[in-house]
């Protein structure tokens, strides 16, 4: 297993290189950051001096290699928007907020989707099934920022049950996490329902039924375990959309994570910060995928990693 994990981490390296190349190119085509830094009344000398000091006058491949070298040394550049503050530090201090939000959203999605999926599959073509199916399609069809604004209006402003925005206390995370988790719980419900139905149609479950094992026992003893594989796979696949969703949700709730930082950074052309966020987000997504793969082999020892 250790060997497998090591191998998987090695496989991340070319992908990370690809990502650095993409972000580097994006930043370099994004125009001249110097003008943005200096403002509209900058003199030619000021522009030239800053261009030189940022190393923007060198050939592109030299800039890329030097960027790569800096990244390896943990130097991800200085923020433009936060004058003279290192991008790495700024992004690092935001990670806890995003990780809290994303993991709470994931937890909410799991807590909703497992009972919903089970109820729907047990009552196939019954009212609960249609209700769950419809709600889960709805969860995918509704734009998440819209859902967030509605939740603020209902639970924050009208009922005043939950904090509207920011990260003051533990309750603050509930509204944004629910907003972020809604569409994930929708897709998870769908996949759980359909894979439970698949599994329950298989011979060994029918045998279990025939042997007189109770339906509840069948679900929890056998079917759920077998339906877990596609479910977990999907969580891995959705990791990236969870991070993407956080970008929008954090903006709605003024949640001080890397998503809010990313939008503000892109808006102010703070490219060192944008690069750092993309790198971190990619590492998070890849780590989730790795965890999913490892979980896989625990659940289903038949899968061999070599």
């Amino acid at each position: 297993m250790a060997k497998y994990i090591f191998w998987r981490i090695l496989q991340m390296i070319p992908i990370l290189l690809g990502i650095t190349l993409i972000v580097f190119l994006l930043v370099r085509v994004s125009g001249d950051p110097v003008l943005l830094m200096l403002g509209e009344e900058a003199t030619a000398e000021q522009i030239e001096a800053l261009t030189k000091s940022l190393g923007l006058d060198r050939p592109l491949y030299v800039q890329y290699l030097s960027y790569l070298g800096d990244v390896l040394q943990g130097d991800l550049g200085m923020s433009l928007r936060y004058v003279n503050q290192p991008a790495l530090e700024i992004v690092m201090e935001r990670l806890p907020a995003t990780l809290t939000l994303a993991s709470t959203a994931l937890l909410i999605a799991i807590l909703i989707s497992i009972p919903a999926g089970i109820i729907a599959s047990v009552n196939r073509h019954g009212l609960p099934d249609y209700l769950a199916s419809f709600l889960s399609v709805f969860g995918q069809a509704i734009p998440n920022f819209w859902l967030g604004i509605m939740l603020i209006l209902i639970f924050g402003v009208t009922l005043q049950w939950l904090p509207v925005s920011g990260w003051d206390n533990p309750w603050s995370v509930l509204l944004p996490a629910f907003t972020l988790g809604a569409s994930l719980s929708a897709v998870l419900t769908r996949i759980l329902r359909s894979s439970l139905l698949d599994v329950m149609g298989q011979d060994f479950i029918r045998t279990a039924h025939a042997k007189g094992v109770s339906p509840v026992h069948v679900i929890f003893g056998h079917a759920l375990r077998n339906a877990a594989l596609p479910y977990i796979t999907l969580i891995g696949l959705e990791a990236s959309s969870l991070m993407a969703g956080a970008v929008v949700v954090e903006q709605v709730f003024a949640w001080p994570g890397i998503g809010l930082l990313a939008v503000q950074a892109i808006g102010s052309r703070d490219m060192a910060v944008v690069q750092t966020i993309v790198l971190f987000a990619a590492v998070i997504v890849m780590s989730i995928n790795l965890i999913v793969d490892v979980l896989y082999s625990f659940i289903d020892p038949r899968i061999q990693h070599g």
Binding site: I142, P143, S240, A244, I266
Partner: protein, 295 residues
């Protein structure tokens, strides 16, 4: 699977394509909605009661017709500049469909091509292409969209191209795995022996066989793209005025949620309705075209 003869398999696939099950009511409703929106988009200038960009000071924030202060002059009310919301929705349908289907066409083309090549040739080609796919999958795509749109312009064409160029990974993965499983079947071996050239073989034999899954992904992808456009508009990087987009209307209306609900409500409902329809149609298509999966 391995002992099934090639001919039976091909015939079985074709049979499944022809063997359309009954349209379920949800998919039927979805098709009606999609068709209506498409017709409205084509005939926008004829259907829309007003010029969607024409402001009217006297009709500012007029509520929908059926409410107490509403008037039948503006059935769905007007926005903060006194513009007719129904007319804006009607013209917005053009952008929604153009961006949705345009993006999917580009994404589908790239994705299918990459998937075909990757799945057929395997080896290093496959490894390289899959590394590209995995790279794109690891980056939360919205950051790429935002950066590109912020850097260049926020035009429809660019939006479509960018969406197309980033959103193709789902196509590539599915097509690749289907091609791989097809390739292992004997009939491809046969056609190679007969001496067909690779492109002919890829497009004549492989493409028709993956077509079903591609259509399913494409339908669901249109829904994703329409929501994505709304999110980009929300963040301020969507297609800009004077072009009317549903996402833009929704984004502009968000500040009026508490005071003039109809500004954001109707575009929100329209987006949800269209995406719901597409998801229903997509699910149904999956049942029809891909009987192995259980939707």
């Amino acid at each position: 699977m391995a002992d099934v003869t090639p001919t039976t398999l091909l015939e079985e696939d074709r049979l499944n394509m022809r063997n359309w099950p009954r349209i379920n009511p949800l998919a039927g409703a979805g098709m009606v909605v999609l068709l209506t929106i498409a017709l409205v988009a084509i005939f926008s200038p004829l259907v829309a009661p007003y010029d969607p960009g024409m402001p009217d000071l006297r009709a500012r924030l007029s509520p929908p017709a059926w409410t107490a202060e509403g008037s039948w002059a503006h059935i769905l009310g007007t926005d903060h500049l006194g513009r007719d919301i129904l007319s804006r929705l009607i013209f917005g349908s053009r952008i929604a469909l153009t961006v949705g289907f345009g993006g999917v066409c580009i994404a589908g083309t790239i994705g299918v091509f990459v998937g075909l090549v990757s799945g057929y040739f395997g080896g290093k080609t496959d490894a390289f292409l899959m590394a590209v796919v995995n790279t794109l999958l690891a980056i939360p795509n919205i950051l790429l969209y935002l950066t590109v749109l912020a850097v260049f312009s926020q035009s429809i064409i660019l939006l479509i191209v960018v969406i197309g160029c980033i959103n193709w990974t789902a196509f590539a993965r599915v097509v690749r795995s289907e091609v791989m499983s097809l390739r292992s079947r004997a009939f491809i071996e046969n056609s190679t022996i007969i001496g067909q050239r690779v492109p002919v073989m890829l497009f004549r034999h492989m493409l028709p066989n993956v077509f079903g899954s591609v259509i399913v992904i494409a339908t669901l992808n249109v829904a994703t793209i329409i929501i994505l456009e709304a999110a980009l508009s929300f963040l301020g990087f969507g297609v800009q005025a004077p072009t009317v987009t549903w996402g833009g209307m929704l984004a502009d209306g968000r500040d009026y949620v508490a005071t003039a609900w109809w500004l954001a409500c109707f575009p929100g409902v329209t987006i949800t309705l269209l995406t719901l329809s597409l998801i229903f149609i997509g699910d149904w298509l999956r049942d029809v075209l891909d009987p192995r999966s259980n939707g």
